[in-house]
């Protein structure tokens, strides 16, 4: 046995001894008695008197009681015994005051629960590692162009430029292109659209992602003629192939072509997710299939941006800034070396293609970070309020127990021991609160899918892992120490002589201490901040959902995209003519029309345009261009402001007419009649061609976002689309229309999938989902904070009324009215709330500035919000104080004077 195991053995024996409360001291007493007796015998034998022998024996022993004490300390673990004693005592006192214990535990539980819940989100979204090697070194490469009034992160370098950058750069370890696509996956006759991507051979190496089965797409696969292979996601492997390993001998039918399965990716790899590419295909939530990206020789030298997404991995030690300046240098040379084709649409702006290197994590998490920061700030405030509450409850308890504590001090309890006792109690509350909090966080995570706005990456992966639990325990410890140290410190300062003189009676006129008041004021201030923040978000949300979108929200829409059986233009025309005609013929349908880019569906087409007679187009004027079928406007409820809608006649005659929205009319035809004006969107080498005549002006429609003003918009009559959204306005309920739509489409072509059947109201709801998410969470936290603060205020008032019973009795005996007593308490509470309100509003003034980016249509110092917060706080505060105040007013003077 080594000396370590010997020490462990001793420790375990002492531990066992301490945990068992039973003491077997009598055996040692017996041993000690034998010792003394033997020593005495020896003394007597040496000629001492019996009493002298006994005296010497005890002297030599060093005192029987001291030996016993030393033996006790060695037998068990003293600190553990003290702790257990404290715990037992703490649990007993908490049981004896269940109201106090429950309130404290609920308070702390709410605070910890809020913290844990939000941290589980932060953990899933920001902290947990992504399945892409080191994501901090992944970047996107964009070529913004100041002439295009679109976000800088939309276009990536054209393939020609891409290959030159790849050859010349020293910043990137590897680079890759992908093109998002939606395949029709035929699964035993069931056709569904699957988010997919065409990727080059560098895609998987750049992301440092390896398949869990089979192989990734390699250099041979991207050669023409070899491209009919596919890598599939883990989820698709499980759902379609039952997770069987023979999947590598199987194939998939994508858009009526056979693709051999060559690999299966690991479970969490479904890149790109919808949230990874803010300007990607909005209908792709995650990617399930990857196929080779095959480029023709002509494509490989094309300098105009295509629909590719360029992703690269920085070499170790290379910063984004270095890469950015290198790419800018290369681009600057390329645009000179390869001037644009003046005939093409964007050729004339060739010189202005720039370079932008953006971090992968900034792209997907960029917009989410401030939101999570806001939520974390909110829950920290909630936790602090909970701490304040718990501290106040403990202070009240300590004051009520002043007599007990004083007595224990008088009987010789050490100060450290007393502090430890009080801290143990608050740790017990913290532990119980931690358990409550974890349960609350779990419930929140169960509720989360219903709140998920769909555009926060990996939100649905939030769970209670060890990091989250660690935070919960940390929050509990923090709360316990914060709440427990204050009363413990005060109790330890208890002056014994003063206690004995005052006979346990309290001093101070309000019945509670300045520390207690200070806590209430601080809590109120924090609640005011949270309420103001929530109020501003609510006001913004109401403004957002009540903006004039420009269309009717009851219109039902669906998406249909044609596959390669519809290659010829006349086939596409025939298809959409047939669809709209059949839908329009349905009973109950008012109007049905198709459009290639539906508002709020996160897809966009921007065209350059030119007004006849306005001179050359220097500024590259732009408009959102749409193809529509005749009854689209009636179906969407977009009002006609001047002129006429498009008619069937315009389509058959190919009349060259167009509709503009109000914005175009306002910008270009101020005080002029736009009807009859001629606009071209077709630029050729020798100038603008194919002018279209404006025949009508329609209302503005919010397209990209509810929160942005409508852009200039132009509509052309055209049935020729390879995919479109169809809008149906009817007198029937949406569910009935949806069924009609499905059966109609099945009647025309059973192999085409109809997706996204939803009302325009649903699209609005989707577009405002994140705002709803942040607003409801922050409102919930503000609500919790308010309740906590009111509980605290109520508790303090009840406590001081209790302590002042005698004083109130004297006042009433001396002639005070019940109303005076009521007012006395209310004034006290009002003072605290008022002070908190003032402090809170001062904080609001500073703090809400950081919220500016979250607001829509309200100023950060919105007077209405401030007023509402003030009223709410005062009313709630007075209500919380009313119950104790009435109790004070109902005190019977004679009885009150008799107590104590």
């Amino acid at each position: 046995m080594s000396s370590f195991t010997a020490s462990m053995r001793a420790f375990l024996i002492r531990l066992g001894r301490s945990v068992r409360s039973r003491r077997d001291a009598s055996a040692f007493d017996e041993e000690l008695a034998a010792h003394v007796a033997m020593h005495m015998e020896a003394g007597v034998a040496a000629g001492l008197s019996e009493s002298e022998a006994r005296r010497q024996a005890l002297l030599k022993l060093g005192g029987a009681e001291q030996v016993r004490q030393a033996q006790r300390e060695r037998a068990g673990l003293l600190w553990l015994e003290n702790l257990l004693q404290d715990l037992r005592y703490g649990a007993r006192t908490l049981r004896r005051a269940p109201g106090f214990a429950m309130t404290a535990i609920a308070t702390v539980g709410l605070g910890i629960g809020a913290c844990t819940a939000i941290f589980s989100l932060v953990n899933a979204v920001l902290i947990r590692s992504l399945p892409y090697g080191d994501p901090e070194r992944l970047v996107y490469l964009f070529t913004p162009n100041p002439n295009l009034k679109i976000p800088a992160e939309v276009l990536c370098p054209g393939y020609g430029d891409y290959f030159d950058i790849r050859r010349e750069n020293h910043s990137f370890a590897s680079m890759s292109n992908l093109v998002q696509t939606r395949f029709s996956l035929d699964e035993r006759g069931m056709v569904q659209k699957i988010g997919s991507a065409r990727v080059d051979e560098d895609f998987f190496p750049t992301l440092e992602a390896r398949p869990e089965l089979g192989r990734a797409i390699g250099a041979d696969d991207v050669q023409a003629g070899h491209e009919k292979v596919a890598v599939i996601s883990h989820a698709l492997w499980v759902s379609m192939f039952g997770g069987r390993p023979d999947v590598l001998q199987k194939s998939l039918t994508l858009d009526h072509a056979n693709y051999r399965v060559i690999g299966v990716m690991a479970a969490e790899f479904e890149y790109p997710f919808g949230s990874d590419l803010p300007y990607g295909d909005s209908q792709i939530k995650s990617t399930q299939i990857w196929v080779p990206l095959v480029l023709t020789a002509a494509q490989r030298v094309e300098r105009e941006p295509d629909n590719n997404v360029t992703i690269a991995r920085l070499r170790p030690g290379v910063t984004v800034r270095t890469a950015q300046s290198e790419m800018a240098g290369i681009m600057a040379r390329l645009v000179k070396q390869y001037p644009g084709d003046p005939k093409s649409e964007v050729g004339p702006m060739r010189q202005q293609w720039g370079a932008l290197v953006k971090k992968f994590t900034d792209m997907s998490l960029g917009p989410v970070r401030p939101l999570l920061r806001l939520l974390v700030a909110a829950v920290v405030l909630v936790l602090l309020i909970a701490c304040g509450n718990a501290a106040n409850l403990l202070l009240a308890r300590a004051a009520e127990r002043a007599r007990e504590l004083g007595l224990r001090t008088a009987l010789g309890a050490g100060r450290g021991r007393m502090v430890r006792q009080l801290l143990t109690e608050s740790l017990l509350i913290g532990a119980a609160g931690c358990a409550v909090g974890i349960v609350l966080a779990y419930l929140f995570l169960r509720l989360l899918p219903r709140l998920d706005p769909g555009n926060i990456p990996r939100l649905n992966e939030a769970s209670l892992d060890w990091r989250v639990l660690l935070v919960a325990v940390g929050a509990a410890l923090f709360t316990s120490l914060f709440a427990g140290l204050l009363p413990a410190w005060r109790a330890s300062r208890l002056e014994l002589t003063e206690f004995l003189k005052a006979h346990g009676a309290q001093s101070g006129s309000s019945g509670h201490s300045r520390v207690q008041s200070g806590l209430i004021v601080a809590q109120t201030a924090m609640v005011v901040v949270l309420l103001a923040a929530a109020g501003l978000l609510i006001r913004s949300y109401v403004k957002v959902v009540s903006v004039d979108t420009g269309f009717s929200q009851s219109t039902v829409t669906f998406s249909v995209s044609l596959d390669d059986r519809y290659k010829k233009p006349e086939q596409q025309v025939a298809f959409f003519q047939q669809v709209t005609a059949r839908l329009n013929a349905l009973p109950g349908v008012i109007a049905a029309g198709a459009v290639n880019y539906l508002p709020l569906s996160n897809s966009e087409s921007i065209t350059l345009m030119h007004m006849d007679g306005s001179g050359s187009n220097i500024n590259f004027e732009q408009a959102e261009a749409r193809y529509v079928t005749p009854k689209y406007f009636e179906a969407m409820g977009i009002p006609l402001l001047a002129g006429r809608y498009l008619t069937d006649d315009d389509y058959s005659r190919k009349a060259g007419v167009t509709l503009i929205n109000k914005r175009v009319a306002d910008i270009y035809f101020l005080n002029r009649n736009p009807i009859g004006a001629r606009i071209s969107t077709d630029r050729e080498a020798d100038g603008w061609k194919d002018f279209n005549t404006v025949v009508g002006v329609v209302g503005d429609v919010r397209h990209m976002s509810l929160e942005e003003e409508a852009q200039p918009q132009m509509y052309y009559g055209n049935y020729q689309m390879n995919g479109a959204y169809v809008a149906v306005r009817a007198t029937l309920p949406p569910a009935a229309i949806a069924n009609e739509i499905r059966s109609t489409l099945k009647g025309i072509d059973a192999q085409l999938a109809t997706t996204d059947i939803r009302t325009m109201g649903d699209w609005v709801s989707l577009a405002s989902a994140r705002r709803r998410f942040q607003t409801s969470l922050l409102t919930a936290f503000a609500g919790i904070a308010l309740v906590l603060a009111l509980v605290g205020l109520y508790g303090l008032m009840a406590f001081s009324v209790n302590r002042r019973t005698r004083e109130v009795g004297i006042r009433m005996a001396l002639g005070a009215e019940r109303r005076d007593v009521l007012l006395l308490v209310m004034r006290n509470a009002g003072g605290l709330v008022g002070a908190g309100l003032v402090a809170g509003l001062a904080c609001v003034w500073i703090v809400t500035r950081v919220m500016r980016s979250f607001l829509f249509g309200v100023s950060e110092h919105d007077p209405m919000t401030v007023a509402a917060v003030c009223v709410l706080m005062i009313v709630c505060g007075l209500m919380a104080a009313l119950v104790p105040a009435r109790r004070a007013a109902s005190i019977e003077p004679m009885q009150a004077l008799r107590t104590e």
Binding site: M1, S3, A6, R14, H35, L61, Q71
Partner: protein, 113 residues
């Protein structure tokens, strides 16, 4: 050093073990007397300090105890060395010898060099 000295913490355990080894099973009082005698009465030993030390050794598994009867027919608790205790004596003795040897090099004037 003519004065009686307090038992140096830690050496007591080795003294107890060593005494038990030479004397065989012994009760607390007997052990205390024997240790005092062996030290040539140089040690100022509070007999009471023996008992926590014995308890510690027992917890560590170096000694075990049993109730028995003393020479003059008195019921007393007897302590006895265990196998682990014997090993511990060897280990502690080696440690102790090394310590004193090192120390003596500092205290006695160097002969070589």
């Amino acid at each position: 050093m003519g004065d009686k000295t307090d038992v140096w913490q830690g050496t007591l355990a080795l003294m107890i073990l060593k005494t038990l080894e030479t004397m065989g099973p012994q009760h607390g009082y007997g052990l205390a007397r024997r240790i005092e005698q062996t030290s040539g009465d140089l040690l100022q030993l509070n007999y009471g300090t023996l008992y926590p030390a014995l308890l510690k050794l027992e917890q560590e598994g170096y000694v075990r105890s049993e109730w028995g009867v003393s020479d003059n027919n008195r019921k007393a608790k007897f302590y006895e060395l265990t196998k682990a205790g014997q090993k511990q004596i060897r280990r502690a003795t080696a440690d102790w010898e090394q310590t004193t040897e090192i120390l003596s090099r500092f205290l006695t004037p160097a002969e070589e060099a």
